[in-house]
Amino acid sequence: MAESWRRSQWRNGLFALPFLVTFAAFLVFPLIWGFWLSLHKVDLFGPGRFVGFDNYVKVLRDPQFRQALLNTLIFVATTVPTLVALGLFLALALNHLTRATAFLRGLFFASSVLSVTIVTLIWRIVFIPNDGLIALVFDHLGWAQIGFLSTKGWSLFSVGVATVWWCIGLPMMLFLAALQQIPVDHYEAAALDNANRWRVLTRITLPAIRRTVLLVAIIQVVMQFQLFGQAQLMTNGGPAGSSRPLVMYIYEVGFIRWEVGRAAAASEILFLIILCAAMIQYVVATRNQEGV
């Protein structure tokens, strides 16, 4: 290590420079600037005045922020396990190379390439009352209509369904890639020992892809905490703010109320929450792994 350090030259750092410059310009600088903004009373159109941590106090006291935080936590707590479990199920089901599985892999991944506008348009057609797909099915069955996009409880659920449909492609592909890295001789040994499918899954497959499960979970936690477009386009955060996520709160405060300082404070809080959630997940998962 010492020898390699002696032989290393600072010029080698130039290889990392493009990344470091981009990282600093688009991530570090906005983060610091966002924190600086959060300490000011400022709108979008001019200099503000320093107010210390007033914006943080106002945000934390705001019932709409607390409601948005709760909505977001519920959303993350329900969609992330669903995405991990469903992604794993699809990957296990499609982990064979046949024409049918190749087609189905493409089919399940296809939704991921759509824009949020198209995704919400599709699911709006499914959920809207009267002429929507579910409404027609309910009519046919003689069931009462449900306002999926305008009823408390159902609105966040509907946004979650659309999100899982949209995002399922990436977890499935990551799990498929991990499954194909497991040496075949492990399964052959299990077959010789007459192990049943459940035992193979829990003793060979899941331990072998544990790191991928962690990776998928962390990626999804970070992504789903940033829920915005689906909620804005499908429910507009309603009814009564019951499907308004944190990013939508930040957007409304910043762009509709013109309180950019307060929006920046809420953004910093969201950043800390995402960071903590990802770190806790990482620490817990790696500890369990060490204990095995």
Partner: protein, 436 residues
């Protein structure tokens, strides 16, 4: 031959290039929807129907008449102010933007708009040509900050075919409309019993503007001075409770469609899902066109009236308007001249814009026989007197509208009590206004 061909092509290219460089470009940003598939090349404005069709045809016609001016149109989702804010913050604002009168104060007070008095003078447009409501809507601190284009309000769009089935039509063919909340409940009940359909077609989902406009209207009818102080709203009042209580009762008694967002409510009324749609002036042209087609739910059976006076006090209805504003930025003299031409063209063609149902902003349009002969205009003529805006000093009217819509919607849908919703709305709005 080759030389001739090359020479011709080079000459044509040079001609195009010189034409392109001679063109003055205006970046125009608007809402009103996108309909290029239908109206993208239409220059016959009289053939266009609806807000989107008419404004698209108007711009096409202006471009055809002025080949030296290129109008680049950007269509934004209604109302488009979030996008405009981002553009202004990044110094990339368009040259001309559609804006509600109720939003102009926010931008003018921050120095984000240029006055248009000079542009109008250059175009030879006399400010006295505009209606008081139009001119008042764009005038701040003695200067005009926009070209007034119209005034609009919410209306009762009536499906006369269903009203006949419900026995709610007078001998002269006019609909029987309520004059008190109790009459509204009774007529709604009669309508629902006779037709099996809800009396009202309302936008109750995924939208906030309709709730706010209806609340303002019925508060104004009760002479409730809820914005006596433009920096603080009063909603914890018996008048506001009476309005929200009425809206809730309408829903609870099954007198209205539920769960419909804006597009669903418009198509629902067109499909005959209910008797009376509470929606804006801008839909009159579209609904008239529907009523002129055989086989539709509105065929030969559409009319429209202002929202009736249901409360003792005065006949009033909340009104706003659309104007064209100039974001503050550097423009060339050629661009200023091009904008002046465009503004004159829009003012000169205000009649065509008014065909969609809006009240004209240009006084002389009211005297035009063509305007007077437009369907149903006599029914709604009184909104020129009864239309009432919020005080111009009230800032952040769109943010306020969102809060009111969310809280009143919560009360109507039973997610909160009426008192809790009004109290929360008042607190949230006053915190917003106190923190500007």
């Amino acid at each position: 031959m080759k030389r001739f061909l090359f020479g011709s092509v080079a000459l044509m290219a040079a001609g195009w290039a010189s034409l392109a460089s001679a063109q003055t470009t205006i970046e125009l940003q608007r809402f009103f929807g996108a309909c290029d598939a239908e109206y993208g090349s239409v220059t016959d404005v009289s053939a266009a129907v609806g807000e989107c069709g008419i404004i698209t045809a108007l711009v096409n016609k202006f471009q055809a008449d002025n080949p030296d001016i290129k109008v680049n149109v950007t269509t934004v989702e209604w109302p488009g102010y979030d996008q405009l804010n981002a553009q202004m913050a990044s110094g990339a604002a368009p040259d001309v933007v559609s804006m509600h009168y109720s939003a102009i104060s926010d931008y003018q007070s921050r120095g984000l708009l240029d006055p248009v008095d000079g542009v109008l003078a250059a175009a030879g447009v006399d400010p006295a040509a505009f209606t008081d409501a139009g001119r008042g809507g764009v005038t701040k601190e003695g200067q005009m900050y926009g070209l007034p284009f119209d005034n609009w309000t919410m209306l009762f769009h009536v499906n006369l075919n269903l009203m006949k089935d419900a026995g709610l039509v007078n001998a002269d063919g006019t609909p029987i409309l309520p004059k008190t909340p109790d009459e509204l409940y009774a007529q709604g009940k009669q309508f629902t019993e006779k037709t099996g359909k809800p009396y009202l077609v309302q936008i109750l989902a995924n939208e906030t503007a309709a709730y706010a406009r209806v609340l303002y209207t019925f508060l104004q009818q009760q002479n409730s001075d809820f914005f006596a102080d433009p920096t603080a709203i009063k909603l914890n009042t018996p008048e506001a409770a009476a309005v929200v209580g009425m809206l809730k009762k309408i829903k609870d008694e099954g007198l209205t469609t539920v769960n419909m967002d804006y597009p669903a409510a418009v198509s629902g009324f067109i499909n005959g899902d209910g008797g009376i749609a509470i929606n804006g002036t801008w839909l009159i042209g579209d609904f008239v066109a529907q009523s002129q087609q055989e086989g539709t739910a509105l065929a030969n059976g559409y009319t429209v009236y202002p929202i009736p006076q249901l409360f003792a006090g005065r006949d009033a209805t909340y009104a706003d308007g659309h104007g064209w504003v100039l974001p503050h930025k550097e423009r060339s003299a050629e661009q200023d001249a091009a904008i002046a031409k465009l503004f004159k063209f829009l003012a000169d063609n205000d009649y065509h814009w008014a065909r969609n149902g809006h009240l004209p902003a240009v006084k002389s349009v009211f005297d035009m026989p063509e305007f007077q002969n437009l369907p149903h205009r006599a029914n709604i003529a009184k909104i020129a007197e009864t239309g009432t805006a919020l005080p111009a000093a009230v800032m952040r009217q769109f943010a306020i509208q969102d809060i009111i819509g969310e809280e009143v919607g919560a009360a109507v849908n039973g997610d909160k009590t009426v008192e809790d919703a009004l109290s929360t709305a008042e607190t949230r709005i006053n915190e917003l206004l106190a923190d500007l």
